[in-house]
């Protein structure tokens, strides 16, 4: 009997699904080794099929996306009950991801922006004797482990095929890693970066540059060129693809294991390269970094210590 696995998406973009398809030929090998019992983007199994499965009958469920509404909460609870192992797949499930930026607002603020013709979607609506329901849209986006117990994490936006291959073979293997492990290297991206030899011993900047303000050269460390590159604070495992694209790291692999709040650590790393000791000048330099939340918490706001903006 082949082990059963499932894939599901919450508040997700589908990029993690594409990442699985990016296993390319190896996907055929995976499909031979396991039985995929639920994967809405690719297979026709429905919720009722999942509900009919006995508890724990799925070896591993790979769940991506953040928790944004009540349907997602119910689906992940169902998957948890049917699965032996749950993997938070991708950075949205691990830390909240880009949908987590919605925590700068709330349901009311978002609906006011989106629905402006006087009609608002309702969780319960009746029309001509027909009853229709919609999931409740929460005020706050959450990461997966706030809702269910999570066994492992695979970071990235999306995770890379190598990471996924390794994660799948680890889970099908004999020795499982300790519960709660992030299945990716536990060091900073700087160490894997193709430009690391050009990083100065003491990196000091007089100002930050925004990506459209300079033409960075193709060999030199991007932080040394004044761009806010978060490679020093971000977990490795992505093969530095953005840097190879001549653009700075934005932190999509989240923190290494020794950090509780990614944004705070990334902010600390960036603040420490500022080459100035005078308050008013420091303030001016910090003004050249126009959006701290979007820069440091782009993928991790829900899982951060504060979790969201305090509304009035």
């Amino acid at each position: 009997m082949k082990p059963k696995i499932a894939f599901y998406w919450c508040a997700s973009c589908g990029g993690c699904e594409e990442a699985v398809v990016d296993l390319d030929e190896a996907l055929l090998d995976v499909a031979d080794a396991v039985e995929i019992v639920f994967w809405p983007v690719a297979l026709d199994f429905k919720v009722k099929d999942l509900a009919a499965m006995p508890p724990g009958s799925i070896l591993a469920s790979f769940i991506n996306g953040a928790i944004r509404n009540s349907e997602q909460r119910e689906m992940v609870r169902l998957l948890r009950a049917r699965s032996q192992v749950v993997v938070a797949f991708g950075i949205c499930a691990q830390l909240g991801g880009i949908p987590g930026l919605a925590n700068l607002s709330d349901a009311k603020g978002i609906f006011a922006e989106v629905y402006r013709d006087g009609v608002t979607p309702q969780t319960l609506y009746r029309e001509n004797g027909h009853t229709l329901t919609l999931p409740e849209f929460f005020d706050t986006v959450a990461a997966l482990d706030e809702v269910i117990d999570v066994d492992y994490y695979v970071p990235g936006c999306p995770p890379t095929p190598n990471l996924i291959r390794d994660a799948v073979s680890t889970l099908l293997g004999a020795e499982l890693p300790p519960k709660g492990a992030v299945l990716a290297p536990d060091k900073a991206l700087c160490e894997q970066c193709p430009r690391k030899d050009t990083r100065p011993e003491k990196l000091l900047l007089k100002e930050f540059k925004r990506v459209h303000q300079i033409v960075p050269d193709l060999q030199t460390c991007l932080l040394a060129q004044g761009l806010v590159c978060l490679g020093a604070a971000t977990r490795a495992g992505c093969d530095a693809r953005c840097i190879r694209g001549n653009m700075p790291c934005t932190g999509c692999f989240g923190p290494t294991s020794r950090v509780r709040d990614f944004g705070a650590k990334a902010l600390s790393a960036v603040a420490s390269v500022v080459d100035c000791n005078e308050q008013s000048v420091i303030a001016q330099i910090m003004d050249t970094l126009p959006d701290p939340v979007g820069t440091f918490y782009r993928y991790s706001l829900p899982s951060s210590l504060l979790g969201r903006r305090r509304m009035e």
Partner: protein
């Protein structure tokens, strides 16, 4: 009659300057608002932004960092690091709805016992005017 709002301030004071100043304020019987919970660190540069965020997350109404005056840091550069982090963290906190009055960095030397009083009293008064922080949203998922 409703209780007056008593702001809770978590204060990180450096061992060589501000903490001694607070001690001095104590031994000199200088009276100042009792709203601070003081955490002694070896240097203001030791204050990790995560400490500040955790204090707010746990319900602090304000966070105060006290360190040596520029040029006087026991470890040379530590207070400058604190200053740079403070400037960036302050901007981040603004975006998260935490006003400037709630997060302060002050230089207070070991001899400045009275300055501890001035700073703390001023911060408490400003926090009282702001009122209690809106409670965090109920985490709907739980």
């Amino acid at each position: 009659m409703p209780e007056a709002f008593e702001p809770k301030i978590v204060a990180f004071f450096c061992n060589w300057c501000t903490y001694l100043a607070a001690d001095l304020a104590g031994t000199s019987r200088i009276k100042y608002a009792p709203n601070t919970r003081i955490v002694r660190v070896m240097c203001s540069g030791r204050v990790d932004p995560q400490f500040v965020l955790e204090a707010f997350a746990k319900g602090a109404d304000g966070v105060l960092i006290g360190g040596c005056h520029p040029g006087d840091c026991h470890y040379q550069e530590g207070n400058y690091k604190a200053l740079r982090r403070y400037e960036l963290l302050r901007r981040l906190l603004n975006q998260l709805g935490i006003e400037d009055a709630r997060f302060r960095l002050e230089w207070i030397s070991a001899a400045e016992g009275d300055r501890v009083r001035v700073v703390v009293d001023d911060m408490v008064e400003k926090l009282r005017a702001l009122g209690p922080r809106t409670p965090a949203y109920r985490r709907e998922v739980a």
